[in-house]
């Protein structure tokens, strides 16, 4: 497991696109000390390598194709209603290129 340092926590937060205060990083660092010990409880379980990871409680074989019926799309006004930055019927963001 990657060693937990304040830099690693900063890196994780940056990847998640947010920042925290120095005090909050310190709290998280302390929390990880306990969490690491709690995670050791999984490390102690024998025979896990033979098991498949469980991604859902049980298989749900619900694959199907929806009937090919035309539906009304979301009206533009509604689609934009919750966006905080709108111009000319489009969401406006800073330039990406050039």
């Amino acid at each position: 497991m990657k060693e937990i340092t304040l830099d690693v926590l900063h890196d994780a937060a940056t990847r998640l696109l947010f920042d925290m205060s120095d005090e909050e990083y310190q709290t998280l660092f302390e929390e990880f000390k306990i969490l690491t010990k709690q995670m050791e409880t999984i490390g102690r379980i024998q025979g896990l390598d033979e098991l498949e990871p469980m991604t859902f409680p049980f298989d749900c074989g619900n694959s199907y194709l929806r009937e090919d019926v035309a539906e009304e799309p979301l009206p533009r006004e509604e689609a934009l209603a919750n966006a905080g930055s709108v111009q000319d019927n489009e969401i406006k963001l800073p330039k990406v290129v050039g």
Binding site: M1, K2, I4, V8, L9, A12, A13, R15, L16, L17, F18, D19, M20, E24, T27, L28, E31, F32, I34, L35, K37, Q38, M39, E40, T41, I42, G43, R44, I45, G47, L48, D49, L51, E52, P53, M54, T55, F56, P57, F58, C60, N62, R66, L74, E78, A81, N82, A83, G84, S85, I91, L93, P94, V96
Partner: protein
């Protein structure tokens, strides 16, 4: 006692007999909501609720939800009504569609009077982390105690007598633990039994729609309405829906109930131990067969870590869409990444950020196999053990929590067995997607504490029948702060 203090089925009779009207009920519920100071509401929906009540015609004899006021946890989408999941990152967000759960209740002419507080984005178990602050336990007028979370506002509303039922969600124990602290029935049916369309996801492999009522019969009646396949939710089940209230009077004779001793033994509160033991003796007197078993202490100790790793990892990915661009408060920046960075830095509270970092750390390429995948493998091992037990018995029976509602300032030693096992074992039901119900066991110094029954997947009818039998033993059906009872244990 007011008619509003009765159960749903009793209120229904009063409506059919015209002893009361939906308008009277809704107005009284709103008046109680306004007078309540437990910080249970994100928003009250006064005008719409009264209008809907006034528009109802003659009572529908075969529809127990006709004219019944209720509340939704504020992580269910409600078209045209602000829905924030108690997070600043969703302030001002007005959904464009109704959650299936709300649509079904609307169709039955139940009346939504408000949306309730939660731990931010449903990630928490204390009811203290929402953007409106702590939600208090109605059983403690001094406001020193938690009602628990994350469905804190919904729990407070039902136990304070504002409404007879409230919708919540349960990813680890977010309905069944507060139900214990609030003296309520808290029911989480099987994963897929109720559509999650319109429920804000936290950890989809663990998330369930769940709810609070004041007796088991109401829990069964509510499942009649909410269960079923929904084409909007690919994970909703094709299993046939039953009439869940049909077997509630069935005797307990011959029913096999497993008590997991290595959970019970971690509880230090002797009064809970004693009441639980008495309830087992009473169940046996009624002809139930109590089997004391051991689950495996190592596996039980690993529940919490397994839950945290899986839930935080899933949440990290799910909540990537909360970026302040499509919805939520917009914060300008020089690049689109900076726009998102500003929205997420200002919009999430510290606790949520910490959980996201735990998830991100578990998913880092260096850690993924030894943390995330190992937790998923351990989940399978735990669920295999659960299903092995449930193949031999009708239900698993354990205390729902190790104590009455804790004080807000209290803290527990996070590496003790009491914390790792007794405080977190309800997540077993989420790991396995199993139906699981909490109901009141006793009152300790005026504060309620509950027990929990968990059954095999999609055996809700059998589980509710057992819970009704247990409710007859405890004598604590329809408990609330306005309808206090002593109980039998």
């Amino acid at each position: 006692m007011s008619i509003l203090d009765l159960t749903i089925s009793e209120i229904h009779q009063a409506l059919v007999n015209k002893t009361t009207t939906p308008v009277e009920l809704v107005k009284e519920a709103l008046a109680r909501a306004k007078a309540n100071n437990d910080n249970a509401f994100e928003i009250l929906i006064e005008e719409q609720a009264i209008k809907e009540a006034e528009a109802l015609g003659e009572p529908e004899v075969d529809n127990p939800f006709w004219g019944i006021p209720f509340v939704l946890k504020d992580n269910f989408s409600t078209k045209g009504i602000e829905t924030t999941a108690s997070s600043n990152i969703l302030n001002g967000y007005i959904p464009l569609f109704d959650a299936t759960v709300y649509a079904k209740l609307k169709k039955k002419k139940a009346i939504l009077i408000g949306k309730t507080t939660l731990d931010e984005l449903a990630m928490g178990g204390t009811g203290t982390t929402g953007h409106k602050g702590t939600t208090f336990n109605p059983w403690d007028p001094k406001h020193e105690r938690l009602v628990g979370g994350s469905s804190c506002g919904s729990a407070a509303c039902v136990s304070a007598g504002i409404v007879p039922f409230a919708m919540g969600s349960d990813t680890g124990d977010s309905v069944r633990k507060p139900a214990s602290y609030a003296g309520l029935v808290g029911f989480k049916p099987s994963w897929g039994r109720i559509s999650r369309y319109g429920l804000f996801p936290f950890a989809p492999s663990l998330d369930h729609v769940a709810y609070f009522t004041r007796d088991v019969k109401d829990a069964a009646l509510l499942l009649d309405v909410l269960a079923g396949r929904d084409l909007h939710d690919a994970t909703s089940s094709l299993e046939p829906v039953e009439r869940y209230e049909e077997d509630l009077s069935a005797p307990l004779k011959g029913k096999k109930i497993a008590v997991i001793d290595d959970i019970v033994q971690t509880i230090s509160d002797q009064k809970i131990q004693l009441a639980f033991k008495r309830s087992c003796e009473e169940l046996a007197k009624q002809g139930a067969i109590i089997e004391h078993i051991r689950f495996g202490e190592d596996l039980l100790q690993s529940i919490y870590a397994t839950y945290i790793v899986i839930s935080c990892s899933e949440a990290t990915s799910n909540d990537a869409n909360l970026d302040g661009i499509k919805f939520g408060p917009f914060y300008p920046g020089k690049t689109y990444q900076e726009v998102m960075f500003n929205a997420r830095t200002k919009g999430f509270s510290e606790l949520i950020k910490r959980r996201f970092v735990i998830g991100s750390f578990s998913l880092m390429s260096e850690n993924q196999d030894i943390l995330f995948r190992r937790a998923q493998k351990n989940r399978r091992k735990i669920v295999n053990r659960l299903n092995e037990i449930l193949a031999k018995v009708d239900a698993i029976y354990v205390p729902a929590a190790p104590s009455v509602a804790p004080k807000i300032v209290s803290s527990s030693y996070k590496l003790s067995d009491e914390y790792l096992i007794a405080d977190n074992h309800l997540a077993l039901g989420n790991f396995g997607g199993l139906p699981s119900i909490t109901l009141p066991l006793m009152l300790e110094d005026g504060l309620p504490v509950g027990v929990n029954l968990t059954g095999a997947a999609f055996e809700e009818k059998k589980l509710l029948s057992l819970a009704a039998g247990l409710e007859r033993i405890t004598g604590l059906a329809n408990l609330s702060v306005l309808n206090k009872k002593e109980g039998n244990l």
